[in-house]
Amino acid sequence: MDILQTILILTAAFLAVFGEATFPVLPRWLGAQVDLLPVLMVYAALNLDFIAVSLLAVLGGLWFDALSANPLGISILPLYVVGFLIHLRRDLILRELSFAQLVLGTVASAVVPVLSVLLLLTAGKQPLLGWGSIWQWIVMTAGGAAATPLVFALFNWCNHALGYQPRTETSFRPDREIRRGRL
């Protein structure tokens, strides 16, 4: 378990939830708030172990629900399901490619709100839904998709700046040196 990366991703989730609740700039312009937790989950599922994925789903979901009118804990499962499925297939995904990141960000940002609303309806709650919800879903999906490569670049930079970098060995070996001289 990479503790530094886990702490980084949990801190990012905490700040993302706080930012979504405190700075409603996007809702004023576009009518919908973009959720960054699915994006962070894509990064965690591709680059971290399943403990970090579980921690992100549980803590991120709890933080989100604590600031929202959602019942506490309802956001955990949608996040975890997405993270779990990506984590299971992580070896088959070309995670370094921006296009792959974009596609995964799109899928995660589209699936998580739908699952959350379905869970809310199953729990007997009455969320605010209508034809405008489709526009909100598109904004959330597009926003999440656009943010995914940026989040990957940001975390790669953070890991490079803060993490331990193994020293690269040169191919030069003194015992293999070809010495030329007088024969």
Binding site: A21, L67, S68, I76, H87, Q126, Q136
Partner: protein, 271 residues
């Protein structure tokens, strides 16, 4: 082996979610407020940061303009004082008439100013959080308003902050009366997810004669909101169910997207 651990983690997380969701509402509410209180230091920081540009702008405002503003405010204040005197005289007269008829006398409203510190991060709820809690005497179901009209009601109370469910959220239904000769009554329901300034007015009788521009006030029924708080104006109406009922759309008096400060009514006197 590796896959097995993953499936165990999935099972543990699912069990944890089921456990949290099945908590008694009171325990879940307390747990929610406890988790939310982790953000309190950041709320203070954000408030200071948002205040900084306004403070900077104030510091560079010319003295002449400030004096002009003070002068204008002084005049407005004097006008309000005269109006208050008149209102006090009317209130006294009203109280005397109430006592003559043995009606219950109306106590003046006790209001408490609150700052809106955050909005709901989920797109499918219309709630905000304010910086007053149980330590300030806030209780659930207290009405919240601005000078323009009704905003919503307190839905959950923590020690230092409370959640306010806004008009237009499906969990905030309000009994209202339309200012027209028939005094038509109905229920304010949900708004659309995008345009939160328009809400549905339902349960109107089939003979309701609504016209665009008629004012809508709280009716005082329902046990939460006192009578006479402005809610909005009728935009349009249409018959439904072959004329059995009437539905209307109401434009809210308050711009819910630009709430910074609100008043909590601490002693709602219900009829």
């Amino acid at each position: 082996m590796f896959r097995k651990r993953q499936y165990i983690a999935l099972g543990v997380v699912t069990l944890l979610v089921l456990l949290i969701l099945s908590l008694p509402p009171r325990v879940a509410s307390h747990l929610k407020l406890a988790v939310g209180s982790l953000f309190l230091p950041l709320f203070g920081l954000a408030g200071t940061t948002q205040q900084l540009p306004a403070d900077l702008a104030d510091s560079v405002l010319p003295r002449r303009e400030l004096l002009q503003q003070i002068d204008r405010l002084r005049h407005t204040n004097e006008a309000f004082q005269v109006q208050t005197l008149q209102a006090a005289a009317l209130a006294r007269e009203n109280d005397q008439l109430h006592s003559l008829l043995n009606w219950q006398q109306q106590a003046p409203w006790k209001l408490r100013l609150a700052n809106v510190i955050m909005r709901d991060p989920a797109n499918w709820w219309q709630t905000v959080q304010i910086n007053l809690g149980s330590r300030d005497g806030i209780q659930t179901n207290l009405p919240v308003l601005t000078a323009e009209g009704l905003v919503g009601r307190v839905s959950a109370v923590g020690y230092t902050r409370s959640q306010v469910v806004l008009i237009g959220d499906p969990n905030c239904r309000i009994s209202v009366i339309v200012e027209n000769p028939a005094h038509d009554m109905g229920i304010i329901g949900a708004s659309g997810p995008l345009d939160t300034s328009l809400v549905d007015l339902t349960y109107l009788s089939g003979r309701a004669s609504l016209k665009s521009g008629q004012n809508v006030f709280t009716s005082g029924l329902g046990g939460v909101f006192p009578k006479g708080i402005p809610v909005g104006q009728v935009v349009d109406s249409r018959p439904v169910e072959f004329g059995l009922y009437t539905e209307a759309r109401v434009k809210l008096s308050v711009d819910l997207g630009a709430l910074d400060q609100v008043w909590v009514l601490l002693n709602p006197q219900l009829n």
